[in-house]
Every structure is written in C-alpha cells, then in structure tokens.
Symmetry: C2
Subunit: 202 residues, 2 copies
Amino acid sequence: MSRIPARNKPLEKEPLSRDAWLDAAAAAIAEGGFDNVRVLTLASRLAVTRGSFYWHFEDHEDLLVSFLDRWRDRRLRELSDLRLSGGDTEAEMRRIFRLVLSEPAWNTRQLRVELAVRDFARRDRYAAKIVEEVDRARIDHCASLLENVTTDKQQARDLALLLYVTTVGGRVVLTSFREGEAAIDRIENLIADIVAKKGGPT
Amino acid sequence: MSRIPARNKPLEKEPLSRDAWLDAAAAAIAEGGFDNVRVLTLASRLAVTRGSFYWHFEDHEDLLVSFLDRWRDRRLRELSDLRLSGGDTEAEMRRIFRLVLSEPAWNTRQLRVELAVRDFARRDRYAAKIVEEVDRARIDHCASLLENVTTDKQQARDLALLLYVTTVGGRVVLTSFREGEAAIDRIENLIADIVAKKGGPT
DNA sequence: GGCGAACTATACACTGGTGTATGGACATCA
DNA sequence: TGATGTCCATACACCAGTGTATAGTTCGCC
C-alpha cells in the first residue's frame, strides 16, 4: 500500500471497448507493422495498464487474429457498399481503382495498414488466408465489372488481375518514390487505354 | 573457471567474416522481415556467441545499415551486368522483367528479402533512400531500353514505370495468391501487347 | 444495501534481447 | 620467445516484453 488510489470522482473515463484496443493496434501497425503491436505500448497509449487488455483478449495472438478478422470484414463490406452505389461500368471502375489506389482517406493510415497486412501475410498463415479472401473478392468484383466491356470471361479475369496487380504495385513502389503522384495519373490512363483496346473487337 | 575450454585441435573452423554475418541476416530477414534480425539468433545460427558479432559490427544498427548497403550494391551491379550482356531490345526487356519477376533464383529468398526491404523502407529513412536508388536505376534502365521502341521520351518513361509497378505488384499480390504462376504469364503477355501497341505509330 | 459482473491496477515470475568489459586462444612476425 | 593483432567466449548489468494471479473499484440490479 504505497500508493493512494485517489479516485474520488465518480467516472473519469468510459470503460474501454475491445474495439478501442483494435484501433490502437491499427495505429501501431500503421507505424511499424505487426511486430510493432505490443500490449505494453498500446496500454500506455490508451492510458491504461495491461490488466485491461488481458480482460478483453485472451492473449497477444488473440488481438492479432481479431484485428485481421475485423480488417477483412471491413474490406469486404466496403466492396459490397460499392456494388450498391451503382452507376455505369466506367464510373464504378474508377471508383474501385481509387479504393485501393488514391482515395484520399487511404493516403496514410489505411494504406499503411493494408501494406503491413500484406507483409505479415508472407510469414503468417492466418494473415495469408485473410489477404487471399480480400484479394479474391476484389478481383472477382473487378472481373464481373469487366464482363460488361469484354465478352471473353477469361480475358475479363486477366484484365482484372492486371488492374489489381498494377494498383497494388503502384502503391508499394510509389510510396517511397518521388514523382509519384504525377506518374500515377499517367499510369492510370495507360491502363484505361488497355482496357478500352482489349474491350474492343479483339 | 567452471568450464573447460576443450580446444586442443589446431583450427576447427574458419574465422567468421563480416559477410557471413550479413548472409545470416539475409536469411533472418527473408524469414521474418527486418524486425526478425536479432544478434542472439544470428549468433546461435552461426554457432558462435555474440562476442564475435560485436567484434565485426559496431552494434545492431550497424548490421542493418551494412546489409542495406550491400543489398543496394548488388542490385546495381546485377543491373549493369545485364547491360553488358547485350542482345536486342526485346531480349533484354524480357530479361529485366524476369530479374524482378520470375527469375528462378528469385523465387524464394531473394524475393522475400526484396519485399522485406521495401517494407522496412516504409518506416526507416535510410532504407527508403536505398530503395529509391535501386528503383530509380531500374526504371531508368528500363526507360532507356524502351527508347528503342518509342521515340517519345516521356512515353518511354511512363511505360517503364508501368512495367516496373506491375512487376513489383505482381510479386506482392501473387505470392500469397493462388492461380499465381499461370496468371503471371498471361499478365506478362498483356503487358507486352501494350508495349508493342504503344511503341507503334502512336 | 448487498451481490455479482464488468473493468482496471498492482505485483510477480519469467523469457529474451542489447551492449560492454574482460580475458583467452591462436597466428604472425620480429 | 614474446609482443601484437585477430577473433571469439564468458559474465555482467540492464531493459522491455508477456502472461498470471490477485485485489480493488464501479456499475446495475434485485
């Protein structure tokens, strides 16, 4: 008993939710990847001790798995939201590019998280499964859109894959590369040309 | 003195070189990224204690910096070697793709190291500088090749960027993605088509 | 107002990591 | 042979992190 509790006020702060911990984890992941999520650090950032953590989560791994699950759910949901918002093929196509490519909100944290997840997937089986689910959904969606442009199903799928690969690749190399933002537009136009030409009479 | 040295034989093992430590680091990085290189682990893998490490290197950071320097030097060298080996534009083009894309040796360790370096570059200034140097060199080389195909310098540069981005992106998404190897060929053909068409009469 | 559940703090045991100081083994050369 | 330089082992101090056990606080509810 060397310390005084000093908590006379009724309720200074709301109790922490599981989601709050996941958000903190997201911040840590965006900063330094999955190896950077440490219970101790998150706790101090939330102004709480680890006692809270081990009430909400089984252990460290539980946190990571929960985070990955939430990440997948959100990515799949934003895809289906996109589908609902309708519009013609061209417009939706653009929107799906921007989703992974240059949507404003993506520019910092979400993008960094996405890349960190992909990186983690290279050494963690569960993360790999999650990433594959999301990739598949995105590519499928893109391919089904492209079937409005070309009739050849295989070709639609190849183009979708090309688009996706280019989109992700763009973010991977152009984040640490100068002349990025300017180039990204020109690349997008090049890609658009390909789609147009391939979509033609073959 | 609770232990017997037990080294009566004249010379059981060669003295370790700085490079051997860097190789061990490469293995660790390929497995689990830069956060996975730990002096203790490398030492035990080299069947040596950390005493050796701290003779060869200043500290942990020194190892990482040295590794990055060596990595850049090798990447730049393999580029200029490529330049020397000549051949027509088409052939060299293919070769440069495969260098980052599907060269057999790349399939596991070198590829994983490359992706780990890129990941590390997102949170480390020095690594970012290294990656940018290598990226620039590769893209420049690719662009200068493409000037044999198209006369428009800007277009050559854009195409080079597109090629590079697609190549890297392909490796990033298709490593954890099924139907990868088959798709990669079709993608490569698609890209080749673009180059051909763009290189045509505009 | 007393009970139980939800949440958090504290203290402890343990592991694994860095860095440093120091000494020992071995070779080379004067 | 002995001095010096190279390379590695050992021991120490220290810190950061996980996980667990336990106790304390606050709330809603009967």
